[in-house]
């Protein structure tokens, strides 16, 4: 049984708080770190969210889908820039993460594309984003909404 947790910070807090029960004693399998997104202008434009997904377990995991109350059609997308400097974006399909490996969703590469927003993305707010894996496991991360001009999670 794989385990999915939000962030390593949470694991540390649980451990520090003496809540480390046998189920949490081993290494966690999927850890989502440094999630962030940009504020939107209104609701007509798609949003994008970024994060690092680490597989700390010893079995491969495959990210197959996303859900969020914020957007009707969340989807993992990949931006590619060809030799002529032309950028395009398309669905990335399933994302397999080998044991010990991580996948970075970052500007210009993979992103969680948030299509058909249900409300504007407002700087300072957060929204829950659930990552669904092929074995039925899921992890929900609370994604902070930064300014439109943000370049990374620390902006």
């Amino acid at each position: 049984m794989k385990k999915y947790i939000l962030t390593s910070t949470l694991a540390a807090l649980l451990t520090l708080g003496g809540l480390s029960v046998p189920a949490l004693a081993g290494p966690e399998d999927v850890v989502v770190e440094n999630a962030w997104s940009r504020a939107s202008i209104g609701m007509n434009r798609p949003g994008a969210a970024y994060m690092k997904i680490r597989n700390t377990g010893d079995e491969p995991v495959t990210l197959i889908d996303l859900t969020t109350p914020l957007a009707m059609m969340p989807e993992i997308h990949e931006t590619k820039t060809n030799a002529e400097g032309v950028s395009s974006m398309s669905p990335a399909g399933e994302i397999a993460i080998a044991p010990g490996e991580s996948v970075a969703l970052e500007p210009g590469g993979l992103h969680a594309m948030l299509m058909r927003l249900q409300e504007p993305m407002t700087e300072g707010d957060t929204f829950p984003l659930t990552l669904l894996f092929d074995d039925g496991g899921e992890v929900t991360v609370e994604v902070p909404i930064l300014g439109i001009a943000a370049r990374g999670p620390e902006d």
Binding site: R38, I41, N44, R45, P46, G47, A48, M72, M73, E75, H77, T79, T81, A83, E84, G85, V86, S87, S88, M89, P91, P107, G108, H111, M113, L114, M115, R116, G147, I148, A149, A150, R151
Partner: protein, 208 residues
Amino acid sequence: MRRRAILGYGAAGVGAVALMLFVGWWQVDGPGGAEPVGQRPVALTEMDFRLTDHEGNAVGPETLIGRPTMAFFGFTYCPDVCPTTLSDISGWLDDLGDEADEMNVVFITVDPERDTVETVAEYVGYFHPGIRGWTGPEEQIARVADGFRATYERVPTESGDYTMNHTASVFLFAASGRFVTMIDYHEPREFAVPKIRRALAEEMEGAT
């Protein structure tokens, strides 16, 4: 004999690897990099188009002559590449400080259907105040892209909307309008800012 033949293949293999390395160098860092022959933008003085800036002023290539220019293409419904490029440019302009005031910085939409003057005005307002936003009729945008040797294409999305594939490089022109170089998408800041300074320096040469 058999051993000789293997050695022969080995030598050919080394030659092939050397050739591949050379081709790789040529394309990435060498004279073949970034600006393939025939793909360089023409000088601004040779372009001919009429657009409107985000404050409603009529603009064209002549608007850019006399100061160095940094220009790039995008669209305001772009979730990833365009805000990233605009924030990168804002960061470069911050690094340049007062020098940034001496140049034109222009965001040109490739999606005039959705990017009206008002839309572009709101959008550029979120980034460095030096960035101007230009839009106009589709056939005029096509002329700009042609002069820049840039491309764009409308692509439907699953959500029933559409997105735009487009050239994501940042173009640099000297004050004379001559094309200097371009900054590729995701080029590190330590390369980008010196390139911008190069375009700024050409202005000095032209002035003396």
